[in-house]
């Protein structure tokens, strides 16, 4: 028997293949997912998690966790110990499992697949927060996002190469309009707008089909969402199964990196791969540290407010954490891109002109006309010579031109009035001191002929001619706005204007109906929503702010109506909103009528062509003669004084450019000043021809003295220089300071160095006690607010070292090794 036993061959070791390895890993993932869920509720683990929070300043120990243990918790603890014991006893098999090539490859492959899952299944909003789940509150939103994202993906997957997608044809009128546009702004601009329009047309039809696709498969998609939620596929990277996979990968890398003797690892052949693996281990270690200790959120600071020590965790308003110190916002500024646009008034383009960001030496060719050979040549070239960060607009002189000075006819009334609120930010210092400024109103420009009292007591319209009564709205005409509506598929020559009241019903081409549901004179993004205004006061009682209306568009065929917010200052096409609307075929723009809307009493100031017969006419009551220098008899405290009247107004602007002041350490305090920006521009007519003329123009981004506007002598075009706050800013910066409480509980400032050291920008952070602060948010409507990202992450440095090491290892393995090898081989051959 004994001999038989001795002669028995040892049982051959199990040979791992890809399938068996995959099976084991998948089982481990399931165990990991279950164990992870149980661990998250296991008192010792909860205590540990709270304790680790102590490193970031907001965690705490809460006494003994053992007292909170129930029987099942003890059982779970026993299970963990048993599992560890089994692993220890079978360590040889486990090592062999991890040392097979198949295990290594499958761990990487399954990690790849898991990450791919996270790309193919939309992750829920705020998934970065480990506590975030799909709940009753967010389920509807998440399902909608899931359905749209998957619908979008599968629609394109089933329409490869665009086969079966709806065709997109631009109406001939639109093409003709684009060609005219291209003649002025250049063929490149024409092509770009055409590309955008085609995208909008295809996008519209595609969106409809995707929505239909989603509707058809709603039940399947909902089930898919529930399945993904059940196994955490929509929060893949924070799931327990994914953590298990990364742990297994880390163990595999660890075991295989050090499986050979040290000497073997530092051979020329293996060094690169060894370094790479060490890098991966370092990276995973750092990731684990980050995972355990990281906290992040946003700190909302405002200029002039006391230090703040509480931030919103994971950008959520309902989760707060406190730092062991306070942070104060000492300085903040947001600077926009400097831009110009060029209007050609005679062309009557419906869409907005292109906006050109300007920098020194930029050349903008415009007004393209065919030359003798038929080739298009620009008739105007704008050459940016200088850009200045600080410009001061001096008192400008307005004077009456002569009939033969080549300038345009420009009727103008000049008043002494309270300083404009809109221009407060860049107001001229003189007017900021006195609170009053010169303002101009032009009767020939619809947008510039009405003045409204800052307190809403009255409004004044300047008019040319003697029939002042005709300037008032006809009795009963109290339309508050004009809607300019274009139905693209109808191929209208131009958008159709509709003067509207609340609850008006408009019948549009191609069977669309439009209802004016609500309106506001003071749109506020927080209070008002896409669905309707939060403001309950009647329109005439609302303050003077951003105008907006809410319309309901009902398509033909009884389809679902669309509720749409239309703002006066946001062009739906230029700002890309049109593409997101349900009925993209219908373009609605708003022109508020500040004169005919119901509201404060109306007055008309009129004069004849020679600046005589000046009179002030109230809507109800007798007119009265006005003389230059006289205060107008208007209600309210504005004390508007008529200073001058012009027929051919000419401006002589004084714009001075000031140098910025940069501290020796590189800090630029002038960044935080609110000066206007300046520009010197060469306006070249008939460039590169014998008729070329150059006029050098100084401009500033201030409305003061119309320093931001330049008009050509022949009235062909008008240039506007402004700070473009429509998209992302050019830059935003904050200077922070730190305060800590002393033993008596008093806040005392901490010396954290110069302003330069405490200044943060998007790519430059400030660190204090392990907390990193970086510029992440701002609001152009609230210039004193600065959103500061806060992160406490002790793992960052470890991870970065891991990444540097991986790069070094890869270069060693794949660049240095082959080169050295080739040289050795060449030597041997030689």
């Amino acid at each position: 028997m004994q001999e038989q036993a001795n002669n028995a061959k040892p049982k051959p070791a199990f040979k791992w293949g890809f399938a068996s390895v995959t099976g084991v890993i998948l089982v481990l993932l399931v165990v990991g997912q279950v164990a992870g869920e149980l661990l998250s509720r296991w008192p010792p683990m909860r205590g540990l998690m709270r304790a680790t929070g102590a490193f970031s300043g907001h965690g705490r120990f809460e006494g003994s966790v053992l007292g909170a243990m129930a029987m099942r918790d003890w059982l779970f603890g026993a299970f963990i110990l048993a599992a560890l014991a089994v692993a220890l006893l079978n360590r040889a098999s486990i090592l062999r499992f991890f040392r097979t090539m198949q295990t290594g490859v499958m761990l990487i492959a399954l990690t790849t697949l898991s990450i791919l899952t996270g790309v193919l299944v939309p992750q829920i909003e705020g998934f970065e927060d480990p506590e975030q789940r799909v709940t009753v509150t967010n389920r509807a939103d998440e399902i909608n996002k899931f359905e749209w994202a998957e619908g979008y993906f599968f629609y394109h997957l089933t329409h490869l190469y665009g086969i079966g997608m709806p065709p997109a044809d631009l109406p001939p009128q639109a093409l003709a309009g684009l060609e005219k546009f291209g003649r002025v702004y250049g063929q490149e601009e024409e092509k770009n707008r055409k590309v955008q329009m085609y995208a909008a047309f295809t996008g519209r039809a595609k969106s409809d089909e995707i929505e239909a696709f989603v509707k058809r498969h709603r039940a399947t998609l909902d089930n898919a969402f529930s399945f993904c939620t059940a196994i955490d596929l929509n929060r893949t990277y924070k799931s327990s199964w994914f953590a298990t996979l990364i742990w297994l990968l880390g163990i595999g890398v660890l075991i295989n990196t050090f499986r050979y003797p040290w000497r073997a690892l530092f051979t020329f052949e293996k060094a690169g791969f060894f370094v790479t693996h060490v890098g991966i281990l370092t990276l995973l270690t750092g990731g684990m540290v980050s995972n355990l200790f990281t906290d992040r959120g946003i700190l909302e600071l405002r200029l002039g407010e006391p230090p703040e020590d509480t931030y919103f965790r994971h950008y959520r308003f309902d989760k707060r954490a406190r730092m062991p110190f306070g942070v104060k916002l000492d300085r903040f500024a947001r600077k926009e891109w400097k831009a110009i646009d060029v209007y050609f008034p005679q062309e009557n383009f419906q869409s907005n002109p292109p906006r050109y960001t300007v920098w020194p030496d930029r050349v903008i060719p415009l007004d393209w006309q065919p030359d003798a050979t038929g080739e298009l040549q620009p008739q105007i070239e704008l050459r940016v010579r200088e850009i200045h960060e600080h410009a001061k607009v001096g008192e400008s002189r307005v004077f009456e031109g002569t009939a033969d000075d080549g300038g345009p006819t420009l009727a103008l009334a000049q008043f002494d009035a309270p300083a404009s609120r809109a221009s407060d930010e860049h107001a001229h210092q003189a007017s900021a001191r006195t609170g009053r400024s010169k303002i101009y109103r032009a009767p020939d420009f619809a947008d510039d002929r009405i003045w409204t009292d800052p307190d809403g007591k009255c409004r004044l319209l300047v008019a040319h001619g003697t029939d002042t009564r005709a300037a008032f709205p006809a009795p009963g005409d109290d339309a508050f706005a004009t809607l300019l509506i274009d139905v693209l598929s109808a191929g209208l020559d131009a958008p159709k204007p509709f003067r509207v009241h609340l609850n008006d019903h408009l019948q549009l081409p191609n069977g669309y109906d439009l209802y004016v549901r609500a309106a506001t004179r003071d749109f506020k993004p927080g209070r008002d929503s896409d669905k309707g205004p939060g403001e309950v006061r009647p329109l005439p009682d609302q303050p003077d702010g951003f105008r907006a209306v809410w319309v309901e568009i009902v398509p033909p065929g009884g389809k679902e109506p669309e509720r749409r917010l239309v703002s006066e200052i946001v062009d739906p096409v230029d700002n890309g909103l049109q593409e997101n609307y349900k009925y993209k075929d219908v373009v609605v723009r708003l022109r508020w009528d500040r004169w005919s809307e119901m509201g404060s009493p109306r007055y008309v100031l009129s004069w004849d062509g020679a600046g005589k017969n000046v009179k002030l006419t109230p809507q109800s009551g007798p007119e009265s003669a006005v003389t230059i220098g006289q205060e107008l008899n208007l209600p309210g405290d504005a004390h508007l004084v008529l200073q001058a009247l012009y027929e051919r107004a000419r401006f002589e602007k004084t714009i001075n450019f000031l140098p910025g002041q940069i501290d020796p350490d590189g800090f630029d305090p002038s960044f935080y000043e609110t000066d206007a920006r300046g520009m010197v521009l060469d306006v070249v007519r008939f460039p590169h021809t014998p008729q070329e003329t150059i006029e050098t123009v100084r401009m500033a981004t201030s409305e003061e003295a119309q320093a931001d506007i330049w008009q050509s002598g022949d009235d062909r075009f008008r240039i506007r220089f402004f700070e473009n706050d429509e998209g992302f800013p050019f830059d935003w910066r904050s200077v922070l300071s730190i305060v800590e409480k002393d033993a008596q509980g008093n806040q005392k400032p901490i010396d954290c160095g110069t302003s330069k050291k405490r200044e943060i920008r998007v790519n430059e952070y400030f660190t204090y006690k392990g907390y990193r602060f970086f510029q992440t948010n701002a609001n152009p409507k609230e210039p004193t607010y600065s959103g500061i990202g806060v992160v406490y992450d002790p793992g960052i440095r470890i991870v970065l070292w891991g990444m540097y090491t991986i790069i070094a290892g890869t270069v060693l393995a794949f660049t240095v090794r082959p080169i050295v090898r080739a040289r050795k081989r060449a030597k041997v051959n030689a």
Binding site: F546, I569, N575
Partner: protein, 377 residues
Amino acid sequence: MNPMLWNSFDWLQVADGICLAGALMCAVSVFAHWRASLKGVQSHGYSLLSTAFLAMTAAAMACSVGMRWVEVNHFPSQNMNEVLVMFTAALVLSMLVLHFALGLHRRGAGWAILDDALMLFVFVGTYFAHEFIRTLNTAQRDLPPALQSYWFPPHLSCLIFSYATLGIAGLITIVYFATRFWSGVWVGGWSTRSQLLILAGMLLVPFAQLVTIPVLALVGLVFLGLRALGKLPTRETLSGLEKSLDDVSFRAFAVGIPFLTGGLWMGSFWAQEAWANYWGWDSKENSALITWLIYVVYVHVRMLGGYRGEKAMAVLAGGALSVFMTFQIFGYLPDSQKSMHRYTDDGVQPKEGMSGGAQDDSASAPAGQAPPQDSAR
């Protein structure tokens, strides 16, 4: 700026002209090398001319990228038009680097044919890519604050160069599988299942009409020509060719992978500076990581498992497909709808620099979502 200087698109046209001439030169070179290989003669003269055209194209592309940099006043990778020009520039440069790194032209006339063919694909691909680029929106776009970083040029350049190089490695795998397919048809030795699998892969891969189908057709034409001449290669010759293609594709991969690694992790270095978050699990980051991991699998199966031939080549082709998806199809993927990296899409407001505001806080709505100021007066 002197307006008489050629602009970026003029330089692109110059590059196109050289590409056409270079493609013609490569076609002549293929023919000459084929004849030389039949006679057993070494011939490098034609390769030198093709390489000169490649170098000239690279110079013209560098001028185009440089001019665009001046025209838009920042590193030109802010819209798809600029990124694709960078890619074609990188493609030409990669081919130039690989021409010397692989040294195919030095291995004999037969190998020089492959070198010529790769260059021919690069010339033709660059030309047609430029045709496509001209249909895209070319408007200048301002850089959001987060992109105003010194990491922007090296991060983008490394990734795009690696995409181009790994794309060429992927092209070699397509040549490999096309050769496998046609050798199976005309010489035999492969199962019908294997043949069908290759054909399905070639036809069903996204945008097959741009790469896989033309390569399959070209290799098919070569086999047809050889058959007509009665010079179909033997099974042994083909086996040797496949081994060599495997070796060449690995070398091309070895040139690209350090750049992919560098580009990927440079993105992390940049992200931790901008948002103190080296990895945000954003879908673009994830797509790039997937690509890198597929290549890691390739290294392991090839270097540890000793895999050669179709299995290793299939993984390498998978890597190239992942590069393509990350680079061009990313915008269609479900989780990409809320990605912070969609700054090359038309009409999509980039979210770079906006890590968000506290939710439900009306007073501090994120800047990108607040209505703009009344700048139009």
